[in-house]
Structures are given as C-alpha cells and as structure tokens.
Symmetry: C2
C-alpha cells in the first residue's frame, strides 16, 4: 500500500488514508476539499464519485471514528443548527402537518446524535467473506462485501433524515449525494456543512457528502446519473417514490408505503386479536407498518367488531366499513363509522382511520391481500397452526406475522439497527433496509497465469 497515487482530481487524500495520518477525529492535517464552485450538477456528481474512491477504502476503525465524529459535531453545533432550522420554520405555517416533521429542538438533536453513535457500534458490513473456493486449475475465487460506492438519497423536509443517511453511508464506506426537501433547505445546508467539516478535519474530501442545490432542475440529471450514482433511495411519500421509480435509470431501492392488513381468522383467540389490532392501528398511525385494513372472518365478525368500539374510541379511530362489517358496527353504535369507497382498500391511511372487510375464509383473505397489499407487513391472528403456516408461506410481503402486531417491522426490532426505510421491493434488500445492505459483492480471483 506504499504506492502513493496522484488523484484524478483535487489534492491527494489517499496518502493520508494509507499512511494512517488521517486520524479521526480531530486531525489537524486539514486539506482543502474538492471544491464544488459550480452548481453544475455533473461536476457535483463527478466530485462525489471521485471522493467515493477514498471513502470506499477506509478501514473499519476509521469509519467508526468518522461516524462518532459526526455525532460530536452535531452536539457541538446545536445552537447553529437550531438557528438554521428557525429560518426554515419561519417560512412554514405552524398549522401545516409538515411543521412538526421539520421542527428540531435540542432534545431531538441529542437523540439524532445518539442514534448516530449507535450506527458507529453496528457490525461492519464491509469485507464479509461470502464464498471462497479453489478451482482444480488453482484459481482462488472469493466473494466479499464492498461498499456500494455512491448512495443517492431523495427525501422530503425531515432534517433528521439528512444526518441519519450520512451516518449510515459513511459507516459503510459509501459517499452520499443528498437531495432534501426544499422546506428544510437551510437546516440541511447547515448540518451538511457541519458534517463536511468532519471530513475535512480528517483529511478527506468533503464531496463525499454532497448536498444538491435546492433547484428542481437537478432532480432528473441526478436520477439518470448511472455513471456517478450506484443506487438511489427515495424516502418519503408514495408520490415521491412513484416519481423516482418512473424517472430513474439509476437502480432504486424503494422504501415504500405500507398498506398493512391484519386478518382475524375464525380460530383467532380474540383476547389476543383485540390488543394486536388496537396496537397495530393506534400506537403510531403515521408510520408505514401501522394497520390499514382489518380483515375479519365472518364467523367471528359479529363478536369481534363490537369489541373494537371501546379501545378505538380512545383514539377516535374512524372505520371505513364494507357492507357486512358496517352492519355489525352500526348495531354496536360505533361512533366514527363510514361506508367504504373502492379506494379505501389498498389505501395507506397514515392516520387514526382504517378500513374493515368481512371475509368468508382464509382464501378470500389471501386473495384480498394479494390484490391490495403493498407487500410490506401482513398479519394473521389464529390459533390454527396449519392456517397460520399457510398464511406465512403464501402471503407475498417483506414481513409476515402470526399473532403479533405489524408494528414490529423495523430495523431496530429486527436486530439490524437504524434503517434507511422499509424496502417493499424485492431486489437486494427487503424489509428493513439497514446498514448491512449498504454494500454489494465483489468477486476476487487470484491466479498464477490461468487461461481458459
């Protein structure tokens, strides 16, 4: 590793990395970063790509130190971040439901910094030996995990996401290009500058964290930058995800909407079913693993549905009921009751509302889920083990549950740590898209002159 290379652009960081001088944090051997003096998107992306060649080669200890330094920097600059956040907040009506998502305060920032330190403690996803064979001709072939390269993220006005994604990317040896929501522009510019300073202090190119300018025109070139971006993660509303899916030629990991069903089977223990359904719906309705539709077997609907009245009443849960369930709920004088419209099935409510449908049997439940599920999290409540196994096997979703709340679909709950989102597509990562999946594979073949 003693070969010192002349970098393809900007000053030479490589020798700092390879000579171990880039001690992180607090190295004072600061070197000027690659400057993004032009807003030309291609230059920004090229700089990020070139910076990734350094970040991708960092050792685990360096990546851990770098991640902890991010947390320290956030903690040290709380007043500055809150001031920037205040300018964003001043441009938004406090009655806007987005206001709370945009809002930072000291305790939120400390929690974000703590979460960043958590990321530092996660097992290294890089360099895992996945396969190793020696061929009869003497070729030694191995497959190991390596950083993806440059991760792109496009998301809405949640300033915590900026820091979360940077921490996960740097921890896994990836450069990151961010396109955040314009409502959070000042906050993002502030936190990114603080995190770039951490890179500079470590003698690393600050383009490894690139925030795209707050201009609509950058989005399409970003989504098509197959030469510079290895994967794009959209994080936010279904509308954003659909836009990215339709417009990106860079590979996308969809961290998508959850249209989640819980099926109360004929053999359900209703004493289990009730708290599970209530938890899945009400504990945090704004998140993707919350319940959207209750399917209830016709043999138990008349007993079960009226039991929802009291626990749901505490949260003011509105029910959009199909014809049969409407009758049962109306008979029980359920207070917040509506007839379903066709769009109420397959709808992600993200609120204290849900739809209900009475089904004939498991088959009708499976067909309904196959038709309307977003393939996120699906649950069955039953004491019949064979029925449960058939549900677990046949339902096509990232996470399938027997006798538990769908709210558990979460990187932390599944033992993976912080997540970029819950993937509802099937390639590469399914379910919690966490640190372990911010890598790809590389085949390494060592020979002694072999030809084919």
């Amino acid at each position: 590793m003693q070969n010192i290379r002349s970098p393809c652009c900007g000053p030479d960081f490589k020798h700092l990395i390879h000579s171990g001088l880039a001690n992180i944090p607090g190295s004072k051997t600061a070197i000027l970063p690659i400057m993004s003096s032009t807003s030309d998107i291609t230059d920004l992306l090229l700089n990020a790509k070139q910076a990734s060649r350094y970040i991708n080669q960092l050792a685990n200890s360096q990546r851990i130190a770098l991640t902890n330094s991010l947390a320290t920097a956030i903690e040290q600059h709380i007043p500055k971040i809150l001031a920037a956040n205040a300018t964003d907040l001043a441009r938004m009506d406090p009655a806007n439901p987005m206001y709370d998502r945009l809002l930072l305060n000291e305790s939120r920032l400390l929690a974000i910094a703590a979460a960043t330190r958590e990321v530092a403690t996660l097992p290294d996803p890089v360099g895992k030996l996945q396969l190793s064979i020696t061929k009869p001709n003497g070729l030694r072939i191995s497959k190991i995990t390596v950083p993806l390269g440059v991760v792109g993220a496009i998301y809405e006005a949640r300033p915590n996401v900026t820091i979360d994604i940077v921490a996960l990317c740097l921890r896994s040896g990836n450069a990151v290009v961010l396109k955040g929501g314009s409502d959070a522009a000042a906050t993002n510019a502030c936190t990114v500058a603080i995190m770039q300073q951490v890179l500079e202090n470590a003698g690393l190119p600050k383009a490894a964290i690139t925030l795209l300018p707050n201009e609509r025109g950058v989005v399409q070139p970003f989504l098509n930058a197959t030469k510079y971006i290895d994967v794009i993660v959209p994080r936010g509303s279904q509308g954003l995800i659909n836009f990215v899916r339709s417009h990106a030629s860079v590979p996308v990991i969809e961290t998508g909407a959850g249209v989640c069903h819980t099926y109360v089977h004929a053999q359900a223990n209703l004493a289990k079913a009730l708290p599970i359904v209530v938890n899945a719906k009400t504990q945090r309705p704004s998140v993707c693993n919350a319940l959207d539709t209750i399917l209830v077997d016709e043999t138990v609907a008349g007993i079960f549905l009226p039991q929802l009245k009291e626990p749901f009443a505490q949260f003011g849960v509105g029910i959009y009921a199909d014809e049969k369930s409407y009758a049962f709920l109306q008979a029980a004088a359920y207070p917040n009751l509506h007839h379903t419209q066709p769009e109420d099935f397959g709808r992600e409510f993200l609120s204290q509302n849900c739809s209900v449908k009475v089904v004939r049997d498991l088959d009708e439940a499976l067909d309904h889920i196959a038709e309307y599920s977003s393939k996120h999290s699906e649950a069955i409540i039953t004491e019949d083990a064979a029925v449960a196994e058939r549900f677990l096997q046949e339902v096509d979703a990232a996470a399938v549950y027997h006798n538990a709340s769908t709210r558990f679909t979460d990187g932390g709950e599944f033992g993976l740590g912080a997540e970029l989102g819950i993937s509802t597509q099937k390639l590469h990562a399914r379910g919690p898209f966490a640190l372990e999946k911010l890598v790809c594979e590389k085949w390494i073949v060592r020979g002694s002159g072999q030809v084919r």
Copy 2:
C-alpha cells in the same frame, strides 16, 4: 395445507399442488390453463402473476421434476422446433451476423436440453434460512429466501435464451414473462408452447410461462408493470440494456456489456502476461468477459507489445493504439494497426480487435479503469503482491483478477451453474446472475400476542 382455496381466476390448481396429485412429469390430471385469449398485455401479465402464486409454492422436488420435464420435452420435439426455426431463418439473410445466433440444429438443442437438466441438479435457492433470532419478548423472527415471484426477460433473437431462462425461473419457483426478439418469433412460440404443455401435464397454469406477443406496443407496458412483474432482466446488446434501464419502472438487473481491461504492470512476468492477454482477447471475442483494452506499463511496453505480434496474428487481431504504443507496435511492424480514436477507450469490441494504452504507473491504470470500465471484469498482471492487492481492492468491478484471464467470469466457472447474464450493476446480484439469485428475502415473525 388441507385448506382448498378457490383461486382468484381460472380453474383451481392449488389443490393439485397441495394434495400432491400434481405429480410431475406425466400427470394425466391435465386441467385447462388460464387462457390468454386476448392480446391485451394487462390480461397476460395478470395471468402470469396469478399463475406465479401456484409456481411460487411448489416444493423443491416438484421444481426439479418440472425442470427435467422441460428437457425431455425439448428432446422429444426436436423436429418441430427445427421446423419453426427454419421459418425464422428463412426471413433472415444468412450473411447477417445474427443468423448463427438464431440457428438451431439437433446438436444445439440436445446441448440446451442437457443444460436444462444441469439446472435441475443445482442446489435449491429457495427456503434458505438466512437469520433466526428470538427476541426478549418471545417473538421468533427468521429470514428465509423465497422466489422473486414473476421474472420478466427481454432479449434478442437467441432462441436458446428462451429455454435457459424458463428453466432457471421454474427451477427457482418463479413464473416468467418473456419478450424475445422478433426474428426468433416462430421458434420462441414453438418452444414456449412445448414448455407450457409441460406445465399443463403437471396440472399447472401455463401462464406461468408467458410469451408476450411480437408487437412493439407491448414493451412499455411490460417495463412499467410494477403490479405484476417483480424484476426485469434485459439480456443482449448495450442498446437494449440502456433502453430498458431508461424506460423501466420495474426493478432491473442489468446483465451488461463488458469493457474489460488487462493491465500489464511494470513487475509483470511477461511469460505469464502474454498467454493471459492472448487468451482474454482471442479465445471467444464475442462475449462480455473478453479483453477490450490492454494497459501496459511504460517500462515494459517496449518489450511486451512486440511479443503480441505473433500470437495475435493467428487471429488477425486489430489494435487501436495510443500514440506511445503505436510507436512500439509500428517499430515491430504489427500488421493490423490503427491510431485510437477517443471512442476506442470504453468500447466493447466483441471482435478480434482491442485498444492499447501505455500508462505511467498503477495510479494511471486505476484512473483509466475508473473512467472507462463498465465494472465487469478487470485484471492486473504483476509479481508485486502489494500492487496486486491494491488493484484488487481499489478497482470497482464485479470481478477483479490477479494473474489470470478475465474470461473466467462465468457462472459455471464460479461454481454457480448456468447464468442469466453477468450483472454489471451493484444491487442484488453482481457478476454472474445465476439460480442462487433468483430469490428474495422474506421476514417471518411468529408471536403469541406481542404488541409494541
């Protein structure tokens, strides 16, 4: 599994699968398949999706038997397939370089059938336990591999690809939707009908193998069918791949072009370097892992390049040389010599031609590869172990080689069996995209009433 479900469309195959009556091959309990009587693309895709619900649930033994039955059916219908192939061939000029790719004969069909039987012997990729944890609250969480669902394939006029892809998909429990090249329309229609008959004989819905009509208008709806298709694999030219990447909202696995470099380092053993370079370029130049560009260190260029003359002459290799290498090759009276044009770097030749560039050192080689590589297969020839390790670590490609020919990048050579192609993107599968990767993950959570 005794629950007999009413299928969401068409006759009920499920009970045959679950009762074990769908013995494959040769079951005479043939049931009419879901008919695709309309050319409406949505109906075809919906049928394929619904058929996938049956195929996805097949046991390993059933999938093995099904795959072997495909091979038997191909062998039994050779005259019929050759007749169909003759009608395709009759529409093509025999001087067309595509003619040989389109051509089938008995020995080729027997080889395809044998390859199909090979696929049957590969380890089952489905149902692999990848993770299993029990949480303090008693939740039992596991992650297993499951079929992707419906695999889409779009490719050119190579009729063998039709059978290869069907075999890999059915072996791994996936339904498959094919859009083949129009020049092979009659051959594809014939082989697909034969393979659908295998499904029918087994009491399975023939829509699990769906051949899209030979109409341009089907392509865009196919590429956007996120509701029905779980992944699309384009297989063929870079133009096709770029088109699919730019127009698909379904996730794509790119099995792409290979712009492959071999770098002859200053410390190379030239007695190894020469046969490796000659093999990588000449053994099968039409494939993606063949050499496209030789990078040669300036300290050895004057010795090494003239040595290429004799072995390359046997194959009439044309060299597109940069200024420095041109001088060395001209001095050696290399017969088929041209000056490089800018497009000759980063060019996949797919023929007995290559480009050559003299480089100053490892760093210049790494920069050149970073700029021009398609991230497929890259090699270094050197006796300096530290230089080799730096190359292996820093080059961003699916496969990186030390002292061996890039021609080894192949599913068979890497121990994975037949491949759908070599993936040059980073998500899900990188390098040989083979049976083992025709699956995704599913989280299964078993509880006893847990809530969050």
